[in-house]
Symmetry: C2
Subunit: 316 residues, 2 copies
């Protein structure tokens, strides 16, 4: 069989993959652009590890399994999975990024609460403003925190915040055991939050969940941290609220458009920390992605059920 991958593997990681593939062929595609050569290889492949233009899945007759190199799978949601899922199994990397994302999310919140952004600007200007700054600093300790999304990332965020003395309330589906499970409960909780984390997958039912109305429910000092997907928030409304000083700040790992174009207003919106979809990153990221793929490859070969299969009815 032919295996396609456009995950940026180092030579030693390629050697590890080849070692596990035995006699099977592998095609290494460009990690950034999906070239015509990649397309030719993809439609001849049985297994793919990485990503592809969504419509290509319907045009790859031999493909049986796509191991995504992301936790999210929203680019593929619009396909007709009633037919496709009979032929192609898609697995994602959910859970793989939870520790990394939680660290950046909590780090970003601390940066806003403890003035680290202002301090970086002062450091660049070689200016000492300790006394003035101290009066404006807030603590996570005692803060009311809403964690919206009770998956692996939401739970990792909650565990860390508990050690800071935050009062954490979670929102999720009924089956997740979250504290809040209805939109009415979420609405009531928003106005009491000092800090809200968004860690939902992007699906038709979560798109725009933090709309203009819910943004207005947040306290003017509240901080919003989005490590889910840009589409969860009404971004123009968020930018308006921040410019008007009706929101304390935002840490955005994800945005509607990525990469963010140079002229985008978010770059200079006040009290915003942009982490450029880096939150899931770590120096061992590719190795860990390959670990998951090779583990699933063993299962695939032995015709056992794969791990982290996407449920298209749920959308994640």
């Amino acid at each position: 069989m032919l295996v396609f991958t456009n995950v940026p593997l180092q030579s030693w990681q390629r050697a590890r993959l080849v070692g596990q593939l035995g006699g099977d062929d592998v095609h290494y595609g460009d990690p950034v652009q999906f070239t015509s050569a990649a397309r030719d290889a993809f439609i001849r492949s049985e297994v793919a590890f990485g990503w592809c233009p969504p419509q290509l899945l319907a045009e790859a007759p031999r493909l049986r399994w796509l191991q995504l190199d992301s936790a999210g799978c929203e680019p593929y949601l619009d396909l007709d999975w009633r037919l496709l899922s009979q032929r192609i199994t898609v697995t994602n990397l959910r859970g793989l990024f939870s520790v990394q994302v939680a660290e950046t999310a909590v780090g970003g919140a601390l940066a806003l609460f403890r003035g680290l952004g202002q301090l970086a600007v002062l450091q660049h200007a070689r200016t000492w403003r300790s006394e003035e700054l101290r009066e404006g600093l807030r603590t996570l300790s005692g803060a009311s925190v809403l964690v919206i999304g009770e998956g692996a990332i939401g739970r990792a965020i909650k565990d860390r915040l508990a050690a800071f003395g935050c009062l954490v309330t979670t929102f999720g589906t009924q089956s997740s055991g979250a504290d809040l499970v209805s939109m009415q409960q979420l609405d009531r909780a928003l106005s009491a939050a000092d800090l809200a984390f968004l860690s939902l997958p992007l699906t038709p039912s979560t798109r725009g969940v933090i709309d203009r109305r819910r943004l207005a429910m947040l306290a003017p000092s509240a901080v919003l941290v989005n490590v889910g997907r840009g589409g969860l928030i009404d971004e123009p409304a968020l930018i308006e609220q921040l410019h008007a000083g009706r929101l304390g700040g935002a840490v955005l790992d994800v945005t509607d458009v990525e990469p963010l174009p140079a002229e985008h207003p978010l770059w200079s919106t006040p009290n915003v920390i942009l982490t450029q979809h880096s939150a899931g990153g770590s120096d061992d990221e590719i190795t860990r992605k390959l670990d998951i793929f090779l583990e699933n490859l063993k299962l695939y070969r032995s015709r056992a059920p794969l791990r982290n299969v996407v449920d298209w009815a749920k959308g994640y």
Copy 2:
């Protein structure tokens, strides 16, 4: 009696103080400069809340109690306390800043591990570099951490790091229950640390504890966080190590000289986050300082033992 204070109290806080003082007089000194008017009032005072030039303690014949507005008391260490302590009791604010300091300390470490400083520079330049950045990010999870100083601040740091999955080892005095209690044990632990926090008081025995030799023991990727006092570290050696890339980075809340002059090399030393002695700050800081003073004032009036009395034999 006359009470002197140079803590920057707001009018409502002054009203609260006056309410508790009953008929006693209070002199409000300038919080930044110790003027001659302040001096005149200070030498007539029985109780002082704030700070004073150290030598003035010997020249204030009526002073019985000085409530410092800081946790550290190193400016007063060189006085002859064998005589002075028979007349003057000094209390400090130890413990009051531990939550705040721990949040800035962990936030600073997260900023270095998760690339938040680089992201702030990229944000200012409206430049997206997500992929390149991700590969260089590290996690607190699994990191070996050394917390040097097992007081309230060290314990608050340890508690938070435990939730991040750090492997924390503490260094302190024998009585503190720290994991390491001898300098030989500290030396052996330094080379294994991914991250080291300094939260010791500055005393004759801790001055320069992180000298050139111990700095060289740290791994080239290690990050050092100092929330104790600048004098704990050989600062010129630290700057050299950072410029040479023999240390991963440093978060410095405290420096040898404060405020740091504009021409000081630390402003532009690579991989340094300067938090300008703001770590103890919070929007309720003055209120909390006043709480402690008023609590001690009740004890003072009833001739009961005061809380947080400085032990000059220990130096904190």
